[in-house]
Symmetry: C2
Subunit: 192 residues, 2 copies
DNA sequence: AAAAACTCTTGATAAATGTCAAAAAGAATT
DNA sequence: AATTCTTTTTGACATTTATCAAGAGTTTTT
């Protein structure tokens, strides 16, 4: 499993063999079966997770019991609850495997160690976070600008490889609409 | 004006007098009158801006000409279009002074210089971006979870000091509702 | 101070999306 | 292959929010 992560890193930054050994030594492989949780509400998140294979989502549950998907993560993506990780507060989110998955866990302290010892790693992470922030702002903007149908089409265009893998009701909850509305939109769109 | 920024920095990190002199030497003070733009759509954003005083907002304009406020910035906040800044692409956003304001501009290259020469500065910035990302995720989650009224109340609670300063139609566009709906909500809420 | 230009509120109506219930389709399990 | 469980679709109806138009308040400009 670590090989995946290594290839990911090789693609982004240049590291010594020692660096890779250090990273490998602190990485924990975790396999998850479909429906299994990596994090549940109330937990304090203690890791960053790199997705080697599979498909996960992060979601919250509101007072009425409705799920709201805030994030998907598939191969080569990261996932965690950064808020909880940063502040040590209990998480409001669930992170659940949508498919059988394998992730690499790096604990908070080890992650800080890596950032300290390996500047290129630190810079890579900071750039990722920047990009993530940009993408999240973009998502907010789209959410407000678009109708349900436009949001659906925008998702298809942005994540063509996720479209078929994503259960509809999870996609609906990611778009902020009900499964029924999504179903009707899909019918309309296919008729065009 | 630089004094404001200095106090802000003193509050967060420990720097030498030399560091402050360096920072001061590359900071550009810019005063903005109400309605004046710091950035307009199509511009490439070339700076990070620290708000010394005043009140600004960042918004996009959709096909129908409707404005969508994505961000407010007041004293001690930062503003920029990071996407455009990072990639050198034309911005989709306007940044406009809502009140007479004074900002400190730091160009992209000087900002990188500071991050390189002054590690505490770099760390501070990275932490800010992390927090901003957390807040933005939180905002997305709230947007989906909440009704218009809840979003309004949440804004009041989160930014009590902005509530009275913010023109209603801009607040409405930040919440993703129309000014008319906001007006009706305010009437309801005040009746309680 | 009057006029003009915004901003906010109110009312009537329309459109989009949500809710609830049930049927249909698809997967997983026996 | 049959059964059970889950997911998706469909229909009828309700609710929320948007739209359009007009009027009341505020600010800004002349």
């Amino acid at each position: 499993m670590f090989e995946r992560f290594r290839r990911y890193l090789e693609d982004k930054i240049i590291l010594s063999e020692n660096d890779y050994q250090l990273i490998k030594s602190i990485s924990i492989v975790k396999k998850l079966r479909k429906h299994q949780f990596l994090l549940t509400e109330g937990d304090v998140c203690t890791f960053n997770a790199f997705v080697c294979e599979g498909f996960l989502r992060k979601y919250s549950v509101d007072d009425k019991g409705t799920e709201h998907t805030v994030y998907f993560a598939t191969e080569n993506w990261w996932t965690a609850d950064r808020q909880s990780l940063m502040d040590g507060t209990p998480s409001k989110y669930y992170i659940e495997a949508i498919e059988d998955s394998a992730v690499l866990l790096i604990s908070k302290s080890n992650f800080e160690l890596l950032s300290e010892k390996i500047p290129p790693f630190r810079d890579m992470v900071n750039q990722l976070i920047q990009r993530s922030l940009n993408a999240t702002h973009e998502r907010i903007n789209n959410t407000f600008i678009s109708t349900a149908e436009e949001k659906y089409n925008h998702f298809l265009k942005s994540f063509p490889n996720l479209a078929n893998r994503t259960p509809r009701h999870m996609l609906a909850s990611y778009l902020g609409i009900t499964p029924e509305t999504l179903s009707r939109i899909r019918k309309q769109v296919s008729g065009k």
